[in-house]
Each structure stands twice: as structure tokens, then as C-alpha cells.
Symmetry: C2
Subunit: 127 residues, 2 copies
DNA sequence: CGTATAGTTGGATCGTTGTCAAACCATGGG
DNA sequence: CCCATGGTTTGACAACGATCCAACTATACG
């Protein structure tokens, strides 16, 4: 369970977090992470219908901004929200954003079927 | 007291708000607006040490994102935060961001302090 | 070892953005 | 009516970002 490099909590910058979350694809990833707890990269890419290299770019952006942590377990990498770190540095910010995304959810690309698959796979891969 | 065109409350998009606030200069404008209540455009530009056309661009970005309202009174235009509109659409978001900016403020918002200006300009200019 | 799987990296493309400068527009005062 | 003042618009420029494809790396499994 190797943890990929990420900024220390005290070095997380507000503008970078906001920038990371200002992209619809990344906001969607974060919303799904909040619901699922964690997520493997391929699942995220498949669910969002984007190329895997594009997905990889978004994971990196989120990780470097300090929004998510990535742990490698074998061939898989699992992302999860840095909830406590963000809360301690920007109290209330992430909850407010997650509330907003759930309030104004857009009927995204085949949300129901794909997200069901994504969740099934995500939970099957977790332990 | 003419009100400049702005998006209706229900049309304010989260990603656009986050995008608008992800620029250090605009975040500084918003922080000062929160402290001062309202602000005239030239004052903001002078205080931030940026060209007036650049400032104008940022005002427009903030207004079009739904973050600020602009009212024209004679030759002057006053900006103020759309606090209630944002609160009704994204509860807790703006307060959390303002809290974050005041928690991790570089120098304080007193006028005349130019170091904040220099830093904002430096990071913005080094894109 | 060889192969399949998971993800990254580099290159190419194309649109967006922050900045300044200069010209422009609008408003109120003399 | 003209001019000074407050802001906007346009143009140019350099940097950034999102995306895809193809090639690459790394890990596990047989």
C-alpha cells in the first residue's frame, strides 16, 4: 500500500483546490469519491467516458492540488478524498461543495447504469 | 443606480464560481469586498496594482460567474458580493471560502499594504 | 519468461486565460 | 459644448489546460 507523493496539509493552497474543482470532470470524480469512499482509476475513466490518459491527467491534478490521496495496491491505484486535511485547513469548504453538487446534480452521461457498474467494481476491488 | 446584467440566481454554475475564485487576484478582490461591503472599480485596480483593463476583465469574470453584482451610480461602478444568492444556491460555500482566505491571509487587508499586491501580481504574471 | 492489465508520459492539437497597451465610450462638471 | 474621469473593448502575446493517440512502464499471474 504505497502512498503516492502529495502536498503536506499545510501546503495545500486554496486557489489550487478551487482550480482543481472548477473542472466538471474533476468535480464529478470528487462527487463520486464522496459517495463511494474510494475509487480505482480505470473505473473512474470508464464511468466518465474519457480516455484513460485524460483521466490520469485529472487524477494527478487532484492529487497535486491536495484534494485526493492515491494509494497503490499491486497494479491498482485507489483514490480517496483528503477529507480531514481539507477540513482542518479550509473548514466547511469541501462539505459545502459536496452539498452543492448533490443539490444541483446534472443528469450526466448514463449516470445510473454506469455508476452502478462503477460502484460494483469499486466495492468488489476494495477490502 | 443601474444594475449591470448578471446571471439569474438559478443559473449560477458551481464550476464557474469555483473557476472565478481560483485566480489569486479575484480571490483577493472578493476578500476585500467581504470586508468593505462594496468597492469601486478604480480603487480595486489601484489597490491590487494591476492595469485597469486587467481589473475590468476580472470584474466581468466575477460578475458573469454570478459572484458579484455591479451597480452604476453616475460615473462610478460599485461591486458587491451576491451573498444571499450564493447562499441560497450553494449553502455555506462563500462563508467557507471567506473563512479560508482570512485564516491563511498573507498580509492583512489594510489599504496601502503593497506586499499582497506584489505577490498576487507575481503569481498571476508567472503563468 | 511471456502476457495481460493498470496507469503514466510525451507529442499534437485546439481552445481558454491573464496581462498590458492603446483606443474607445459614457457620464458629469465647468 | 468640451474636457476630465471612470471603465470597457480590442488586439497582441505568452502561457496554460483539456483532450486524444501512441508508446512506454510496472506489476501480477500463469
Amino acid at each position: 500500500m504505497r502512498l503516492l507523493p502529495q502536498p503536506a496539509t499545510e501546503n495545500i493552497q486554496l486557489t489550487e483546490v478551487l482550480r482543481a474543482l472548477s473542472d466538471p470532470v474533476r468535480l464529478e470524480i470528487v462527487a463520486r469519491l464522496a459517495a463511494a469512499g474510494q475509487m480505482n482509476c480505470t473505473v473512474a475513466g470508464d464511468a466518465l467516458g474519457i480516455h484513460k490518459s485524460t483521466a490520469s491527467h485529472h487524477y494527478r491534478t487532484l492529487r497535486e492540488a491536495g484534494v485526493v490521496r492515491t494509494e497503490q495496491d499491486g497494479r491498482l491505484k485507489y483514490m480517496s478524498l483528503r477529507h480531514e486535511d481539507l477540513e482542518s485547513r479550509f473548514p466547511g469548504l469541501l462539505p459545502a461543495i459536496l452539498t452543492a453538487t448533490s443539490l444541483h446534480r446534472t443528469p450526466t452521461t448514463s449516470e445510473g447504469t454506469v455508476s452502478a457498474t462503477a460502484e460494483a467494481r469499486a466495492s468488489a476491488g476494495s477490502r
